[in-house]
Subunit: 620 residues, 2 copies
Amino acid sequence: MEIKIHNGKSIMAEPGKSVYQSLRDSGVYLVASCGGKGVCGKCRVKVLEGTYKTESAAKLKKKDIGDKIVLACTTFPEEDILIEIPEDSKLVIGDKIAVTKSQGLLEFLRAEEPSLTPMVRKILLTLMPPSIEDNLSDLERIKRALAENEINGMRFSHGFVQNMAGSLRQHTWSVYLTYTENREAISVVSPERARHYGLAVDIGTTTVVVYLVDCTDGTLLDSGVTYNSQMRHGDDVITRIIHATEGGALTELRDAVVNDLNGLLSPMIERNRINRDDVDCAVISGNTTMTQLFWGIDPSSIREEPYIPTVNDYPVWKAGTAKVLINQQAPVYTMACVGSYVGGDITAGVLASKMHRNPEVALFMDIGTNGEIVVGNNEWLITAATSAGPCFEGSGIRHGMRATDGAIESVKIDPETFAVELGIIGNAPPVGICGSGMIDAISELFFAGLIDQKGKFVRDLNTDRIRIEDEGPEFILHRSEEKDILLTEADIENILRAKAAIYAGMSVLLKEVGLSLNIVERIYIAGGFGNYLNIEKAIMIGMLPDMPKEKFSFIGNTSIAGAYLCLLSEKMRREAEDIARKMTYVELSVSKGFMDEYMSALFLPHTDIDLFPSLKEKYG
Amino acid sequence: MEIKIHNGKSIMAEPGKSVYQSLRDSGVYLVASCGGKGVCGKCRVKVLEGTYKTESAAKLKKKDIGDKIVLACTTFPEEDILIEIPEDSKLVIGDKIAVTKSQGLLEFLRAEEPSLTPMVRKILLTLMPPSIEDNLSDLERIKRALAENEINGMRFSHGFVQNMAGSLRQHTWSVYLTYTENREAISVVSPERARHYGLAVDIGTTTVVVYLVDCTDGTLLDSGVTYNSQMRHGDDVITRIIHATEGGALTELRDAVVNDLNGLLSPMIERNRINRDDVDCAVISGNTTMTQLFWGIDPSSIREEPYIPTVNDYPVWKAGTAKVLINQQAPVYTMACVGSYVGGDITAGVLASKMHRNPEVALFMDIGTNGEIVVGNNEWLITAATSAGPCFEGSGIRHGMRATDGAIESVKIDPETFAVELGIIGNAPPVGICGSGMIDAISELFFAGLIDQKGKFVRDLNTDRIRIEDEGPEFILHRSEEKDILLTEADIENILRAKAAIYAGMSVLLKEVGLSLNIVERIYIAGGFGNYLNIEKAIMIGMLPDMPKEKFSFIGNTSIAGAYLCLLSEKMRREAEDIARKMTYVELSVSKGFMDEYMSALFLPHTDIDLFPSLKEKYG
C-alpha cells in the first residue's frame, strides 16, 4: 500500500502501521506532542481519496469528521490513500533557530591563548626503519621516538595497535601520530594529513545541532540542524525516560539520536571532502537526560526521587563506543552535567556567557524545551530547573506551534473595540501561535481587561471574540473559514503556570543565597526561544523580573557555543568542568519556599505588585 | 551424507568437504603435519564401506591402496561411508603433557610477599544513599567514597558506568568495587562476592593450557588442556602466518584459539560453580606469533626480514576486546615478548626458572614446537630461537608422533646382532616414535656402527634391519604384519638438522657475549618434551653440551608457570617485564657465525670431538 501526499511524495504504508508512523519512518514529521498516542489531537491530516480505518476521534469536531479529517496516529489505510497535510500539522524545523556564529567565539579563544588546544594533537614522527641490528617492535619504536620528543606514558588501545603496523609501512616510517590530551594514541596517518577536524554537537530535547570544525585553525566549516528523532516518543524528557525504562526502548532512543547526528554529518563530510578518520574529536552538549540517552545509560533514576543522574562529570569515551561515525578512536568529550534537570547544555551556556568570570551577579536562563536558571558570578553559582514545560514551544497549547512560518508572533488588542492586530512570521496566513505570541496575547488580554489577574476570561463583556465551548471559554485570535485560531482559558492557565514556574524559580534561587532580584546586574537569555522574546511584554505578564531593558542580553544557542569553545581549547574544558563542579544544584520540586513563590507568581503580573515597580507606576 | 567411524560416532559429511575436514569440524582430529594438504601422508584412514573419490595417493603404497587406505584430506565421500581410523593417524593429546604443579609456585610467592597482588583488587564501599540534600550523581558518589579511602584517579569505562547504577541500587549502596592495579574500575558487585578468580593461559603452537585460579588465596581450582585448533592450518608458526596473511584468515585463526580457550573454560566455570563475571583477570603467555594471533594483530612482519613483531611489551587490554568469555571489563595481561621468535612464553619461562635472579650463568632451553634458548644471569640475558622445527614432536618424521601411548620412547640396539629392544609408552604395541625415542635410536644406531658420523646408513652390513626403498634406505625398528615402524635416512637427516640447530644456537649465543659453554653452571630444560629426554643420549648425539648430568634440571611447562606467577603477583609482573626488556635478542638466521657452527654440529656427535670430552674418553 501507498500513502500519497497531495503536492508531495508517495511513501510505503505497511498494514498495521498508522499513517503517522508511516510518514515518520519516511522522514515526514507531524506535530504530535503526545508522541503519537491519540491524545493531543495535533497530527490532523485530511484524507482526499481511499478507504481507511480510524480509531479515535475524541479531539475532532463533527465538521472535521465530515471533512474526512483524521488523526494520523490512529488512522490506518486499507488501500492506497491520498492525503493532505494542513500547515499546522507539519513539524517544520525553524530556520530561525539561533545558531551563534563562531567568529566571535574564535576571536575570544585567540585572545585567551596563543594557540588552539583541541583534545587531539598531532606530532610528526620520522622513525628509523627497523633492521636486523635495530629490531625493536613497531610499538616500542614509536615509544622511543615519542620519548625523544619528551612524550612519555602514552596509552595504546587495541584498535590503534591493530592498524598501526600497516600504516607505518605504508608511509615508510614517516607519519603523523595523533593522540589525545590524555595521552591515548589515536592513529598513525600519512604526513600529508596535517589537518584534522572535530564536531561540536548540541543534543536538544527537540533539535540536534552539529558543527563541523577544522581543529587546526578553528574554522567552522559546516553546520546542520535536524529534529531529535526521539520526538516520536514525546516532546519532553519525562515521556522519553518512561519510554526508555518502562518501554524498554533505551537502545532505540539512543540509536535514534545517534543516527540523527550521523545523518547530519554524512553530507558535511562529503561536501567538505574530508576523510572520516581525520574527524578525530567531538564534544557533546545536552541536558542530563539527553546526555544519558546518547550514551545509552539507563535514565530511570533521574525521574525517581531523589532524582539522581548516573554521571555528571563524564569520562572521555570513544567515538566507537558512542557509535558516532568518525575516527573510532576519537575522544568524545561530554559537557559536564550539574544535576538531574540541569545538564551539560547549561554548563556550556554559562561558559559561553562568561558570567563565571565576572564579579557582577548575573542571571542566566535557557528557555527551550525546559527552563533552566543559573544565578551567580565569579565566586559562586547556583542553579535550578523550573518545571516550565515546553508550552512556549507550542506543546500543550491548542494552536501552539514553533516560531516558524505562519506562527502568530505578536498580538495587539484595542482595549476599546477588542479589535485584534496580529504579526505573523513569514507574512503567511496564521496557522498557530508561538511562544512570543502567547506572551503578547496574555499581556494584551490582561491590559484590555479581557482576562482577570488569575487569567480567567471576564464574563459579560460586549464582544464576540470570547466564546464558551464545551471545554471552556476561548478567545478568537483569528477567524477563518477553514479554522479559527484560538487561545483557550486552559491555554492561558498553562502559560501562567509556565511563567510562574520561571519567575518563582528565579526568586527561590536568589533566596537560597539570601539575595533578592535587585542584586542581579545582567540577565542572559539563551535558547532558540530567547531571540524572539518581547522583554517588555514578558515583564508585563510577570515572567521576567522588572528590570531595565538594557540589562537583558540575548545570547542564542549557548549549548553549541560552549561545545565549540571546549572543542578547541583545553582551558575552556577545564573551565567548564570547574563551572559544573562549582554550581550548587537546587531541586525546586521539593523546595519548601517554591510552592509559595509559585502560587504568588500565578497572578498577572504577580500577587505582590511591589515587585514590579515600573508596572505599578505605569498602570498602578 | 554421513561418515560412520568404526567403533565410534557418526558425523555429517557435506559434499565437497574432505573426510579430514568433516572429522575436524566434528572434533575428531587426525595427524596432519602439512595442515591437510595431501603432502605429509599421515591422515590415513581405511574405508570399510561406501564409495568415495580420492585425489592423491602419492604417499600410499600399493598394498595400502588395495586395502582401501586413503588420505582423509584428499578423500571425498560419494555416499554414506564407514571408516576405520588407525591408531597412528589419531591426534591424541598427551596426558603426560607436563603441567607444573602450582603448589611450589604458591609457596614461592608467599615467601616473596606478605599478600597476593593480582591485577584486580576489591574494596568494600558502603555508600551513603542519595537524598535531595546529598544529590551527587552515582559516579561522583563512588569517587567520593574512593577518595575517603585515599584511592584517587580511578578511570571508569563506558561499560562500567552502564551497569553501575542498577548494581548500586540492587545492593542498597553497599558493594564491592573491583578495579585494576592501573586504577580502572571493573564492576560493582554484591558484598557477598568477596572471592574473585583469574585465568593463566599458555597458548602453545600445539596446545592451549588453561588454569582457573582463585585470586583471593592463589588456589589452582582447575586446569585444562586442548589442542590449538589453529593446527588444522599447519604445525608451525610460519605456515600459520602465511595462512593469516596470504590466506586472509587472520580472524579465523584468532577465533580458533580464542574458542579453544573459551571451550576449556566453560566446563571449569560450571564444575566450580563460579559466576563468569567474577573471573576478572587473565594472563596470556605464548610465543610472539601465537600472541599476535590471539590479539588479532597481523603477524606478517614477523616473517619478513628484518623480522619485526608489532608489539613486544603489550598494553593491558580487556577480556571483551579479546573475546574471552569472562568479565568483559577484566584486564588481560600479556607476557611481554622479546623478538619475532622469542615470545612471552620464554619470558614466563625465565621468570619461573629464576635464572634472572642468580649470579651463576644458566642456560634455559624450551624444546617444544620451536626451540628457544636463553643464556645469562642476574646481570645479563641473551636469547635466540633455533630453527629446530617440530621434528621432536613427530612432524617431518615418517613414523614420528607425540609422546603418547604407543610411542617408542627408548631404543636399544645390540652392536653385535643388531637386535632391537624398544620401550613403548603405555606398554601398547608400537605405533610410532616420539622425540626421546628418536634421540635414543640415533645414538644407538651410531654406536652400533649402523650409521656414520653424517647419519648415513653404512652399506654392506649383514643385517635385514636396513632396507633400501625408492625413497632411500630405512631402518626397521619394529616389524609387524600391519605396518613396520621405520626410521628413514631422511628422518635421521631431519633429526640431525634439529639437534645441530639447537647446539649451534647455544654456541653462537655464548660467543655473542664472548663466552664458551664451560661458563654455564646450570641448564634448565623446559617444555613438554623436556621431561622425557634422556640427557646422556642427547649428549651422545651432540644435541646437548657435554656436562655432568646433575647440572641439568627439568622444569616442565614454564610458560603456564610464569603466567600463574604473574596472575597473582604485581612484583612478578614487573619482574617479567624487566626480563623481557633486559633480554638481548639475536636473530640466528642472519648471524654470520651460525652457519659454520651449524655445519660443524651436523655430525655425530660433532666435528670437534674435543667439545665432548666425556665421549672422547669413553669411546674415543
